[in-house]
Amino acid sequence: MKKLLVVSCVCDDKFAPISLYLMNNHLSDVVAGVNTKAKELDAEIMYLLPEGSQVDGMEGYVRYVDASSPTLNNPYAVVQVLSGNLPRPMIQDDFVAEYDNKEVVVITPEEAYAIQCGSEDKFVAVTADGETEIKKVSAGTSVAEIADVDGAKAILVGGSKGKFILPQDGENTKVEATESFNSIVVYKTSDCMVDACVQLMNQAYEASCGKCVLCREGTSQFKQIVTEMTTGKAKATDIDLIKEVSEIITVGAYCPFGQNMTKPLTSAMELFADEFADHIKKKTCKCGKCYKAATLYFIDPDECQGCGDCIDACPEEAIEGKDGFIHIIDQDLCEQCGKCVAACDEGCIKSATKLPKLPRKRTKVGKF
């Protein structure tokens, strides 16, 4: 069967937009590397670029797709996308991914560049203060030399599949010529690590191709549980739950993305255990990021008349109560929408960042 070498510029990690950088800045090297590989395989070449991107001087067979996924370095995932489906990898021995009656082989611009220029050069995307800059460094350079780690709180090395390290370890963390060093993200002391994990888990949920249960549902669970840590719903046991579940996902997920997507979260939980504990147990955020929006609503037990007017106002059906009894908002169900406040003519639905003492069981009006 004929072969088709697809140059995938759509499988970059969110934090490491290296493919397009290489295409725009080192096109001739990439093309030379691709051509060498194509010759070796006796393959036709297709460049797969993200919809809307523009590469000056690009020639040859180019396809633009409205997809980007960490799985798009897998030939089957590429074939799916070329056929108009969502990307989903297939990892199976002697499986041949076919497109247009050709066997698909995938190469990234980075791999192509390495064929042409050797792998001494390493491109690293460094993100600090919301700005990303791509730097060319040589393997062996330390993280501290590449990014300004002074006064940082933590450094995420390797993006969505990477790990958090402390700034003091930046010195002896040396960049290797592997994917795990494609990006370095610097977090400031004012950044909340729990909030950072919420962002990371949202991204992981979006990036998961959804093929396998562990990664699809795992990202969805993590996203919810970590978010709950910032709104006061999480439980103390959730830390162990995440650790235990992550371990299993690392072994059991189908592709490298799923196997590694838990690492930023688990490494943050390890390095910043106190910060996580404060969020869960004390329901406070030292950085003031979380719990801000998360005003907690409660019904003042001393003022409630037990009329029940508030019950229907709550779209989550979080208000519980019976005629003549003090009404209570179930904090597990409450979504902090605040709609109940106006429903109470007596003005006894109030908000605070910390809940006062409230009745635990059904209590008659005036008996609390």
């Binding site: 489906n85 093929k211 249960v213 549902e217 669970q221 235990e244 189908y254």
Partner: protein, 707 residues
């Protein structure tokens, strides 16, 4: 084929090198849980239930997508692997209803079964219930995607097996979903093949209630191919329709003949109960199965004869009484089984009601003659003009077995004043006389009592004999008549007036000559144990003028006690296996069931033949493959126009040209119409090709119950 040696759970296994670890394990009675895997589909690797430990490999491997290799050592009960499975199961149920109560799939659900096997770790993961959206908008199938666990089998079946691609994955509000690739299944090019339903392990994609019979006694094939099930003889309908589509008409005819020796006659007059069951009823109307059969049978080239079985003579003799479809069918197969057959027929020619009841404008006699001569050609002897008075006596004359199929040849006469006047006829006598070329005289005004197909035959025959005004009247309302809509329409086109919802009071006469029929309007008709119940509408009594009255209110067998068999309300009583009260005498067809249909008579005769053959020492096997092998291509591709077609209608002679003669009126299909209609078939049998879903208990059972 090369094989490799491996060890699974300590058991040495030799497996074909093309197998996966999962297949090798299952083949050897070692059960590994699996859910996204389906025997007929590409591996997916999504459910993570099939993970196992391989010695020397870190972590776990996916057994459904890993090929066996020489020397592999596999542990399926590995602790880590079991943890992965349990977590996967836990996670699946976080988005799935936690209770199976009320789920129609319960009891047949692979997910429920597997979760019992794998168990639950009781982790405090979050419930993320999906909105309970039921999509019943599409015909035939419904989608309740809140039960979907995204195993992707449906998507794979639709694209890999069918080449349709009507289903796809899509992220909806961030969550992965299986969705229709368009606004509706029709728009997505769905062929309504049901493959997605067949492979779905959960209750999320299901057949709508009523599409298939929910009868646990039915075989999988009969359940899934409703037309074949609806046919009393279970003719392989989709197979012959496919032959027609391919243009191989003789093969189609041969397929019909595998189950019935009257393919072409059936093509003209079959009551087509298959069409009532056809899945396309739920789309845009059933296939015109009977007309397809008729066209194919007309193109028969006899090539099936070379494949027909003929057993050696057994020396046994069988007498058959009555040469209707039941008797002729029985004679045909008994002769093929090697028995000496003699059929005794009272009337001058063979054919039963196909000749002496059904008018020739519906079934040309050349067609019938040709099919009967096929039966005579293999050596079945038919003795016409032989009225047999007693079956028991015939048996006593030395036949090894007797088969009674004398049909229902005496018309029912209602107890009305004037019912015995001259020019008051019974259906059976009236139609028989026409076919004996000696029709009973009809006047200008004819009234037919009855609302079934036989009444229509009498009315239309009266028109053809020269009657000027023909009225049909019956108890039933228009929508409750037993005659088919099509036949009522044709009758009306010929000027026949249908007077519904009337009870008959008296046949009026003057000087012994019929002058009319007095009837009264009724309402609230019900059929109770004692017959019809209704209320008479006051002041609605009228008299239809008539000089001829025909009773078409049913027939009964023309036999009595003298026949020597136990009777019940005039019909021969049979027990299991078509046995009568006398050993060695069997009966089937109308004489047992009352007037039904040609195909029912044929189907019952075939069953009786098997019994008789076994009684005579044979194996009772009359199955034969007369048609060539057929490779049904399951990859049917998209069809956005599927429901834009309509049932093809036959060409029919107009009323004026047909009502003055007994020539065929319904001209059926030509090759072009037949091909067009055949391509409407949904090929329901393709679904039977798909491997049925298995449960872990099935594998355990195969292994003699270990597990």
């Amino acid at each position: 084929m090369a094989t490799v040696n491996l060890t699974i759970d300590g058991k040495s296994i030799v497996a074909d090198e093309t197998k996966t670890v999962l297949e090798a394990a299952l083949d050897n009675g070692i059960y590994i849980p699996h859910l996204c895997h389906h025997d007929d589909l590409h591996p997916n690797g999504g459910c993570r239930l099939c993970v196992v430990k391989q010695d020397g490999v870190d972590g776990v491997i996916t057994s459904c997508s890993t090929k066996v290799k020489e020397g592999m050592v596999i542990n399926t009960k590995d602790e880590t692997a079991e943890k992965v499975r349990k977590l996967s199961c836990d996670l699946m149920f976080k988005t799935h209803p936690s209770e199976c109560v009320g789920c129609p799939k319960y009891g047949k659900c692979q997910l429920a079964s597997i979760s019992q096997y794998v168990g639950d770790s009781g982790r405090d993961l979050r419930q993320q219930k999906l909105p309970l959206i039921e999509n019943e908008e599409n015909p035939l199938m419904l989608h309740e995607m809140y039960r979907c666990i995204l195993c992707g089998r449906c998507v794979r079946a639709c694209s890999e097996l069918r080449g349709v691609g009507a289903l796809k994955f899509e992220k909806v509000d961030g969550r992965m979903k299986v969705v229709i690739n368009g606004n509706s299944l029709e728009e997505a090019g769905c062929q309504f093949c049901g493959a997605c339903v067949e492979v779905c392990p959960t209750g999320s994609i299901r057949d709508k209630v009523g599409v298939f019979k929910d009868d646990p006694g039915l075989s999988r094939e009969m359940k899934l191919v409703p037309c074949s099930e609806g046919c009393p003889a279970h003719i392989n309908v989709p197979k012959y329709i496919r032959f027609i589509k391919e243009g191989n008409f003789p093969a189609a005819a041969a397929t019909v003949r595998e189950k019935a020796p009257f393919p072409e006659s059936l093509g003209y007059i079959c009551v087509h109960s298959c069409e009532l069951q056809c899945k396309r009823n739920h789309l845009d109307g059933p296939l015109s199965i009977r007309n397809l059969k008729r066209f194919a049978a007309s193109q028969d080239d006899g090539s099936w004869k070379a494949k027909a079985f003929q057993k050696d003579a057994t020396g046994k003799t069988v007498a058959i009484i009555g040469a209707g479809p039941a008797g002729l069918t029985a004679g045909y197969y008994l002769k093929k089984l090697g028995h000496e057959v003699t059929i005794f027929e009272k009337l001058p020619k063979a054919g039963g009601q196909m000749r002496y009841g059904i008018p020739s404008y519906r079934l040309p006699r050349e067609v019938l003659d040709r099919e009967i001569s096929e039966i005579e050609a293999i050596g079945v002897e038919i003795k016409c003009n032989s009225d047999i008075k007693s079956a028991a006596q015939l048996k006593a004359e030395g036949y090894d077995a007797v088969f009674v199929s004398v049909g229902t040849h005496a018309g029912n006469r209602l107890p009305l004043p004037g019912n015995d006047l001259e020019n008051v006829y019974l259906n059976a006598d009236f139609l028989r006389a026409i076919n004996l070329d000696n029709p009973l005289p009809v006047g200008e005004n004819v009234v037919v009592l009855g609302g079934g197909n036989v009444a229509i035959d009498c009315a239309q025959s009266a028109v053809r004999l020269g009657a000027k005004h023909v009225v049909m009247t019956c108890l039933e309302a228009p929508d409750k008549m037993t005659a088919s809509d099509e036949e009522v329409t044709w009758a009306k086109e010929e000027g026949i007036i249908v007077e519904n919802s009337r009870t008959f009071d008296a046949i009026e006469s003057v000087d012994g000559k019929v002058t009319g029929l007095t009837v009264t309007g009724i309402e609230g008709l019900k059929f109770g144990p004692k017959g019809p119940e209704f209320t008479r509408i006051p002041d609605s009594t009228v008299t239809f003028p008539a000089d001829t009255v025909i009773f078409a209110v049913g027939q009964h067998p023309d036999i009595d006690e003298e026949f020597g068999l136990e009777l019940n309300r005039g019909r021969v009583v049979t027990t299991e296996g078509h046995k009568t009260s006398v050993a060695g005498i069997y009966a089937a067809g109308d004489v047992v069931t009352g007037t039904r249909s040609v195909i029912a008579a044929i189907a019952e005769a075939r069953e009786a033949v098997c019994e008789i053959d076994r009684y005579l020492g044979g194996d009772g096997n009359i199955e034969e493959n007369l048609a060539p092998e057929q490779l049904a291509n399951p990859c049917i591709g998209k069809n956005e126009e599927l429901t834009k077609t309509h049932r093809t209608e036959p060409s029919v002679n107009d009323a004026d040209s047909r009502k003055c003669n007994f020539e065929p009126m319904d001209l059926g299909f030509d090759g072009c119409k037949a091909g067009c209609e055949a391509s409407r078939c949904l090929q329901c049998d393709l679904r039977v090709q798909i491997s049925p879903q298995k449960f872990w208990s099935d594998y355990a059972a195969e292994e003699g119950g270990q597990q």
